[in-house]
Symmetry: C2
Subunit: 201 residues, 2 copies
DNA sequence: ACCCGCCACTGACATTTGTCATGCCCGGGC
DNA sequence: GCCCGGGCATGACAAATGTCAGTGGCGGGT
């Protein structure tokens, strides 16, 4: 029996995934969680063989939860399961020590398969996405540029961003300008969208 | 037996929802679809009692598919099932003749229940969301303002928007200014985010 | 010790943007 | 017929934005 934890913030899909996986005779759902902290706690409490974790979750997101699980409970293998196949997500998932990466577009049969492979010690990832992740290279943005872009997606003015980061307007403009250059955008809004698309935020 | 169609662009959650609903003894999944056009076609081909349709789908989106189904196949009742509980979505779903509206945050048991209620001719919707939808009133934007905002979410410059809509820069600025005023935003980026959040685009 | 990259800031500059007043055309309601 | 709202446009103006050059501090390599 493969003991599995499922973490996803949307109760409906979490339950649906659980009942789908529960139909498999060699898989047992031992716990569910709705956010990153609950996922880490559940791993500690139930020590599952495999944790299936969504990226988008309130509070601690799936990628940082995966990193914590990898550090604190190395016996539990992690599969990242996400809506968006963003190259940056794959890169960060691998850096966090995840053993699998699957997108929610994938055919349903693939999920149980991925769980079995990962439980057996193999790695599971989409070849096309892996190629894109490698070819596009790592995120070219510096820490500060990421901070500024993250604040920029809200849509506020430069002064808003500056205040929220305790910086000068000029500094924010410089970081934004540099980020715009690196992303090939022509506006900070476009730069923010591009960075978000690639999973760099 | 209640005959159900499931439409969702993410194969994994579509399959998961299907296997969860399939566990119910009085529910039978007769078809699945990955986009709006396929959903309409599947309704025509299998004449299900209930169609469970996601909003976000490539091509024809779930709300317009629901409207088509309501017009062309009135015997099939529609439940809109969405990730985001945006007031505008609920309003448009009701306008399209949907009989139910459920968010993916809802507890899993609620789904089968909603299917049964809707099949019985009742309406199912989240009271809190309905209240918000009514209190926030309808979308205050004119058609053109919506067009311009939709083009603005990409992040391009005013000139980009103007060209993509075959308008003058000045006209675009006027529409944007008016949309910014109506949304209470201070930037076109913020206005676009707000409008998207409310489901006005 | 030296160089280099990142961070933070300043000041200046040319554009872009948001706002406002004004005008014209059209279609719908009274 | 008249008025009103919406779409489109122009022109003008203040403010915000993007770009550039230059300064200094800090820390990590070699």
């Amino acid at each position: 029996m493969i003991r599995v934890l499922i973490a996803d913030d949307q109760a409906l899909v979490r339950g649906a995934l659980a009942s789908m996986l529960g139909l498999e005779h060699d898989i047992e759902i031992v716990a569910q969680a709705g956010d990153g902290d609950a996922a880490v706690a559940a791993v500690a409490a139930h020590s599952p063989d495999v944790a299936l974790i969504d990226v988008q979750m309130p509070g601690t997101d799936g990628l940082t939860a995966a990193a914590r699980i990898g550090r604190e409970h190395p016996s539990c293998r992690v599969i990242i399961c996400t809506t968006f196949g963003r190259p940056g997500y794959l890169a960060r998932a691998m850096a966090a020590g995840a053993h699998g990466f699957i997108v929610k577009d994938a055919p349903p049969e693939q999920l149980a398969d991925a769980v079995r492979r990962v439980a057996a010690g193999l790695r599971v990832l989409d070849p096309a996405l892996a190629a894109e992740s490698l070819s596009h290279g790592a995120c070219p943005l510096t820490d500060r540029e990421r901070d500024v872009l993250r604040a920029a997606v809200e849509g506020g003015t430069i002064r808003d961003i500056a205040r929220s980061l305790h910086l000068t307007d000029g500094t924010v403009r410089n970081h934004l300008s540099s980020a715009i250059g690196k992303t090939g955008a022509r506006t900070r809004a476009e730069a923010a969208r591009i960075a978000e698309d690639k999973g760099w935020l």
